[in-house]
Symmetry: C2
Subunit: 358 residues, 2 copies
């Protein structure tokens, strides 16, 4: 990737020089940011609003594979997936703090690529980078992002407010990031067997993009605000729809019925699943890393949502004793018990989001 460019060893800058160099393009613009990078700690002020905070760690060869993940996309994805957690609280992300451990195999230019991706995501979502840490690493890269957002107390949405009869909705489409991963893993194997082979990603741009450079659905949060909708519960889909349904049901003490025919699946996701002999529904139910929002709303919100092209009503909440069920296209009722993320072991990268359990 950097063959034609000058290579600089990170040790030439020294530790303080490195963070100085990498963060100089990040300008603080939020009124909540009182003091950014440059002291023992950053200073923020939130006045009367509540603050929501989330932290996520991304580890090389667990969450990303340098064989097929460009550093600029890794940087982008770390920020956007962290901001997704703030969106899932119906809050507006405002700041991030980033720690990075880099082994000596990474040059300054590589670190710059990583931060260029982070910078693009910070610009896209309008967040300030206010703190960070860089460290050496003996082997591989490790990134931690702490994201901070603000919201009025009365607009924050937790996992715990869904009520029987509420509609279950999801933004965007599902399973794409998982199928993108399958494509990338297949091409990696081809390349490992024959270094002459170029990756064949033709016609897979959408799903590969879903895997490598996912977006946080801030636009959906803005839409809620515009339509004056407050979901009763919400979570972002990092581990897969089925797993997130379990979380909402557990925290809200409800059951849920989901209709297979209502699951939003992009044509490219569908076709690629068939190509891999996978059931598209399984990919949509259990494929992680889509970073879409799964939420519940009262039935009274139906009229406001029915025309939103990017939101699908996929089911509804039932009494807790009715359990979690998928109604298939043929009308069969399948319990979701066995489809939690823990049984989904074919994914080689997985979002290990554990902000999510108490």
């Amino acid at each position: 990737m950097f063959e034609d460019r000058e290579k600089t060893h990170i040790s030439e800058l020294g530790e303080f020089g490195l963070i100085d160099h990498l963060t100089k393009k990040f300008e603080s613009t939020k009124p909540e940011t009182i003091l950014g990078i440059g002291d023992d700690a950053a200073i923020t002020a939130s006045d009367f609003r509540h603050q929501v905070i989330s932290t996520d760690m991304f580890v090389e060869n667990i969450h990303f594979d340098m064989m097929y993940s460009p550093l600029v996309h890794i940087g982008y994805k770390c920020i956007s997936s962290s901001i997704s957690d703030i969106c899932a609280m119906n809050a507006t992300a405002s700041q991030v703090l980033v720690s990075v451990a880099l082994s000596s195999k990474y040059t300054l230019q590589a670190a710059e690529e990583l931060y260029a991706g982070m910078h693009a995501a910070c610009e896209k979502y309008g967040v300030d980078l206010i703190g960070g840490d860089t460290s050496s690493s003996v082997i591989g890269m490790c990134i931690n992002v702490t994201a901070i957002g603000y919201a009025n107390e009365e607009t924050i949405v937790k996992r715990s407010g869904a009520k029987e009869g509420d509609l279950l909705c999801v933004s965007g489409d599902l399973g794409g990031a998982y199928m993108g991963l399958q494509i990338l893993e297949r091409e990696k194997q081809v390349f490992l067997e024959n270094n002459e082979m170029k990756p064949d990603l033709e016609g897979k741009d959408y799903i590969v993009g879903r895997q490598l450079r996912p977006e946080a659905r801030k636009d959906i949060i803005d839409l809620f605000n515009e339509l004056e909708i407050r979901p009763t519960s919400m979570i972002d889909i990092s581990d897969g729809l089925s797993s997130e349904i379990f979380h909402l049901c557990k925290h809200s003490e409800v059951g849920m019925k989901v209709y297979e025919e209502k699951l939003p699946i992009d044509q490219q996701t569908y076709d690629t699943a068939i190509e891999f002999n996978l059931a598209p529904t399984t990919c949509a139910m259990n494929g992680g890393e889509d970073y879409e929002l799964l939420f519940t709303v009262p039935q009274s919100a139906y009229d406001k949502l029915k025309n939103s092209m990017d939101i699908s009503i996929i089911g509804y909440c039932t009494a807790v004793h009715e359990g979690k069920e998928l109604i298939t296209k043929s009308g069969n009722v399948v319990s979701l018990e066995a489809q939690g993320w823990e049984n989904f072991t074919t994914t080689t990268t997985k979002s290990d989001e554990t902000q999510t359990e108490d």
Copy 2:
């Protein structure tokens, strides 16, 4: 360490089970903590006070060595050294978020030890654990701690307020953590050459403790409050006195004169330095990880501080063009230019704190 106990593979609990299990002893007690672990993000509220936030990453074989660092101490040190950054802003730490990546060599019991140390530190400093992430790791352990504190706007102390004539002060004593590290490294080498050898740490308990289980000087922040002292600038000593002096001088645009005879050095540190043919002053100036507070106060604060046994006045601030100088016991004037941390390459573990540069 765990030879006699049952071993449980972390995979048996699953990811959500793990964080659930490890954090169940952590109770939220702070009024600022509105919602702790258990949703996409935690919720805090700070009312009218400013919030200070810092993030630090700790990497196996860079910041700690499993050969001689008990996991319970690693957990404690990660929390206390992060809280040290909040103290260095003259703020009160209130919450932490912790991410941990663990390789498969670590058992559940090992993870429990790590979190037991974190729990002890959270209890000691009165902070709530409000969020976290656990992840797999291909090789080694990586820990990230984000620490949050609160302070009134007018009491926050940055690095940038020192004035010519201000007194330069330091808490506790210096160089101990570095000499503790030398002892541990020596005993590691002895052990590596002969597995039968038991480590000889006799008479070194103080300095070994300084290395393995440092404390944040929250008591000094409390003392400032009690004595109604507001330092004009402050930083915590993670990279070494000389390095931190450079930071304060740069941010405050002053010079500094430091008196060798005033440097606080514990007898055990002194004796061990001699044993290792090192100059005790060099260890005090350049040894990192003491996590003491270095700060400046107006001369008018002298009467309030002079009787504080745990605070040493080691020098004073000069005009910026006078530079940074050490006045030796024999009256020689040595420029500190060449003694920054970047020339201090004999330390094998080092605090890579880069919250500190903009």
